[in-house]
Amino acid sequence: MRSKEGNPARAAWLVLAGLVVVMLTIAGCGGGGSDTTGGGSSDEALQKVGKGEGQLNLISWAGYVEPEWTKPFEQKTGCKVSDKEAGTSDEMVELMKTGQYDGVSASGNATARMVAAGTVAPVNTDLVPNYKTVFSDLKDQPYNTFEGVNYGIPHGRGANLLMWNGNDVKPAPDSWDVMFDPKIAAKYKGKISVYDESSYIADAAMYLKFHQPDLGIENPYELNEEQFNAAIELLKEQQANVGEYWSEAAKQISAFAGGDVTVGTTWQYQYFALKEEGAPVEASPASQGFLPKEGATGWSDTWMIAKDAKHPNCMYEWMNWIISPKANAQVAEYFGEAPAQELACKETANPSFCAEYHAEEPDFWKRVYYWETPLADCGNGEANCMDYNDWVKAWTSIKG
């Protein structure tokens, strides 16, 4: 039944050869050139907010753009909001490169990369009246201000949680020992749940900063080779005790609910979801009111405007709206994070919300290490730190 029109294998070889020729041609043409454009330091921020363009395209974390506070915004400004939810910081960086969006709610491990890639523009904070009453310890931070230029409006912040099953882990831990100390963690062998992303290396660095001060770790995102290797060693030791690495919230929820894991690092979202299901989980700081003694990694998110935003006026309106007292209180309560707006604390449905989330306690946040992008430039003028690609590769080798 072989086809009489020649040999299919020969045809396959011809296609393959064609592919190679095309590839070599493209590689040759691209040779020598470099596409990298420098940062956006010379860009001008908007000087005056004009009339809205009637449309606004956003990238956000799930729960940041919800009808409750988006509908009133649309009615007030006439800017119709279309939102794309992203699951990870990497995804946000990729989506912003498409140039189809006006703005993004970026975490600190994405902001520097977006500024360097030139996909975002400086923000003129004078055009955002509500910015005046944003908590001052959120302003001019290394993850939202670059070379003295503001690149965004703070949205809210939170700490990553240490969560455990109250029936299996007693007494309630007050330290990340339960996950990192080889002796203590061995008690929960195969029952430990770890966030599956290279940024988790910072959790190990934070633990070492507290327990091995002679390593000299200042910032868990700025690690020289020696400090970095110590963190990797710790994570490789931990690997033997890990039950599951999670990156989808749903996966971790099912593991805790099904009893497959009993202790792990998590977000407010999973903790709420498990509480709602009636799972016997507890978490620090969520249910304990205090951080583990080493502190915690966390996030502080920033609304940034795209460099070539098609609807810049609407984006400025949005940045002002999302940190207005009422809207910022709504989004903070919905998501389970501390609001960025001081005045939001008077607007929350739960009157003690800000107290529960330590929104007004700068000392609490001093021990929360917000996600940052690891850069070769250590911030001390030296360029001997491990960069993001080193982190990604090391993470692959930890899991093996």
Partner: protein
């Protein structure tokens, strides 16, 4: 105008075929192979560490990194090993089912079996993997069923990956074997019996050689699908497959991800060459 156009094609067979195929072949070459080529070219480029933008100058550093880091060899080998194991498992399970369908079952039974095999393909892949996740969990159905006899299920891990893959790709193995067995005339089997061959000899000397190309054809599906998957390992184990590493690198280091993507392509080409030697393409 229409007449003139028709006149142009009149009697010119090559032109007719050319016009007919221009669309699909153009799509294949430009849309499909072109984008693939573009992706793979990136394997010879590098990335600016901060901005994640591609630097378009020729370098082999991605392949050197791939070669020098033992962890990638471990991952590649794990992926290939699992793909082979899943293929073997599916072949062993699928053959008797396909044989029963093709040679033993009544018309009605055959129809029922075909529907039964195709039915799982109607539900979402993710739903099936999450279902297995629930089954394999500590308090899942498998442990519940095994507990009374003092046994434990495999839990999450390498065994779970093997189980789930074998389940997911089984229909892709059964259908080609079924089609292959259907084509063997019953008279050949009768002739073998008439000449005094035992059922086992008939199977070994007649049925197996004639249906082997179909098994190889089915194995191309099970092998390549396992080779490229990254969601199943992620959901039922901590194992990293080639796809997982590509996924974790694609956002910030596309060139390295592209270099990694070369590995399954090379493996697949080798596999197809072996499959061709074994005659998988003779009867399709």
């Amino acid at each position: 105008m229409g007449h003139r156009l028709a006149g142009l094609f009149q009697g010119r067979r090559r032109l007719q075929i050319g016009a007919l195929l221009a669309g699909p072949i153009g799509w294949l070459v430009i849309g499909y192979l072109g984008s693939l080529a573009l992706l793979l070219v990136a394997a010879f480029w590098s990335v600016d560490p901060l901005s994640g933008l591609t630097v378009k100058s020729f370098t082999l550093e991605n392949f050197e990194a791939l070669w020098n880091e033992p962890v990638y060899r471990t991952i590649v080998w794990r992926t290939i090993r699992t793909a082979l194991l899943v293929t073997l498992t599916d072949a062993v399970i699928a053959f008797p089912i396909a044989f029963y369908m093709a040679k033993v079952a009544s018309r009605r039974g055959k129809a029922l079996l075909v529907v039964g095999i195709l039915l799982p393909l109607w539900s979402s892949y993710l739903v099936k993997v999450y279902a297995w996740r629930t089954l394999l969990g500590t308090h899942g159905a498998i442990n519940w069923a095994l507990e009374p006899i003092g046994l434990h299920g495999p839990g999450y891990g390498t065994t779970a990956v093997w189980l789930v893959f074998s389940y997911l790709w089984l229909p892709y193995m059964i259908l080609p074997i079924y089609a292959g067995l259907e084509r063997i005339p019953d008279s050949l089997i009768s002739a073998s019996e008439d000449l005094g061959a035992s059922p086992f000899t008939t199977f070994r000397r007649v049925i197996l050689p004639l249906s082997f190309p179909a098994v190889v054809a089915g194995s191309i599906f099970t092998f390549s699908l396992t080779l490229g998957d990254y969601i199943t390992p992620r959901l039922v184990s901590n194992d990293q497959f080639i796809g997982n590493v590509i996924f974790s690198n694609i956002a910030n280091n596309q060139p390295f991800a592209a270099a990694l993507a070369m590995v399954p392509i090379v493996v697949m080409i080798a596999y197809l060459l072996v499959a061709r030697k074994l005659g998988a393409f003779e009867h399709v």
